[in-house]
Every structure is written in structure tokens, then in C-alpha cells.
Symmetry: C2
Subunit: 117 residues, 2 copies
């Protein structure tokens, strides 16, 4: 992940409605939710939500897929992992033994296949 990608993702999450949306979708898991269902759950106007969903989509934190008349949104935890990895890159000047506790946070073994939850 490059700096601008990280910035987009972090800026996206640093706004209350978008953070609420992301967490709602994390909870919803694989099924995801339609834009309408999200708007209703969070009591946000559909057009305002649409703007926020666009931001989250651009950042890669959520994925959109049209299903009939609705559009389903799902969280994309791959991006989340890449983000955390980026944030903790070169931790302690490349001496990871100095910060072992925190490095547990990042699954650096890359054993992950599907982060879409």
C-alpha cells in the first residue's frame, strides 16, 4: 500500500458516518447490506450516504456490487490489513524484536486468502 492509499482509507474512516458504515458492514459480514438498509440503520439521508459510500469505495475499504435494483456493500478487510501493515512498517527502525508485542497485530505471515470477511 502506498501513502496516498493509506491517506484515503484513514481519512475515510476519520468521519463519523463513514466509520459507522464501515463498522456496520464489518458486523454484517459476508452478506453485506444494501445502501438503503445502511441509510435506514444509521438514519442518514440516502444521497448523503451515497457520497460517503463513494468515499469508502474509493479507498477500497468497502466493495459495491449491484444486485437487482439494489447495490450491496461489503467491507473489505484486505484493505484493512494492508493499512495496518503500512502504518507499522519499519517498526522500531527495522528491529522488530524491540516491538514484538505490537507486531503480533500485523499478520505478516501472509497466510491469508480471503479478507472479505
Amino acid at each position: 500500500m502506498e501513502k496516498n492509499d493509506a491517506l484515503y482509507a484513514l481519512a475515510a474512516l476519520g468521519q463519523e458516518t463513514r466509520l459507522d458504515v464501515f463498522r456496520l458492514l464489518v458486523k454484517a459480514g459476508n452478506e453485506g447490506m444494501t445502501a438503503g438498509a445502511i441509510a435506514e440503520a444509521l438514519e442518514v439521508l440516502p444521497n448523503t450516504l451515497s457520497t460517503h459510500l463513494a468515499g469508502l469505495s474509493r479507498s477500497g475499504l468497502v466493495k459495491a456490487e449491484r444486485e437487482g435494483r439494489s447495490i450491496h456493500y461489503r467491507s473489505n478487510l484486505d484493505t484493512m490489513q494492508q493499512l495496518v501493515t503500512y502504518l507499522l512498517q519499519d517498526c522500531c527502525g527495522g528491529n522488530p524484536e524491540l516491538c514484538a508485542p505490537i507486531l503480533k497485530i500485523v499478520g505478516t505471515d501472509a497466510s491469508q486468502e480471503d479478507g472479505s470477511c
Copy 2:
């Protein structure tokens, strides 16, 4: 961690200079860096940097400590871990087996003593 704490932290990281500062301090590790050294490394005016450091401090992502005439800043990875934990809370509706890959990211075993790197 509560929502507002997460919002402060994410908003703090969602700005280029502050993201640069945080990553610089993550790399610097335990020694940290003085405000002046950070300003020089990132080529930011000291007063502008000071504003950003205040934001990062408020969010708990960095810790400040006066040492003589200078003030040393260090990243605080405890806050980082709490943040990631918050973001992925209730992943997949509380069925973590559905999203095992990503849950590796969060060290839920709480075996960590010192996250200050």
C-alpha cells in the same frame, strides 16, 4: 476504546503531515524524536508541526515528554492496537470463524505489556 477516541485517532492519521509524523516515530522506536528533529526531517514549519503534534497527542497515538529544552515525542502503539480492535469489533456478526484470516490481525490474546515500541 470508544467511538470518539477512534474518530480522533483516525482523523489524526488521515492527514499527510500527521501520517508522516506517526510513521517517522514508529520507525524511530523507543528513542523517539524531538519536535525540532521531526520538523527538520519532514521540512515542516515548527509552529505548523506543533499543531499537528498536539492533534496526535490528543488522540493518544503519540506521547510527549519534556527533556530539557526539547520535547521528545514517541509513538504509542497501544492506541494503535486498541484502534484496530475497535474497527474489527463484532466482525461477521460475532462469528469470528467466518473471518479467521483477518482476526489474526488483532492480538486478542492480550499478552502485551508494553506497546510503546
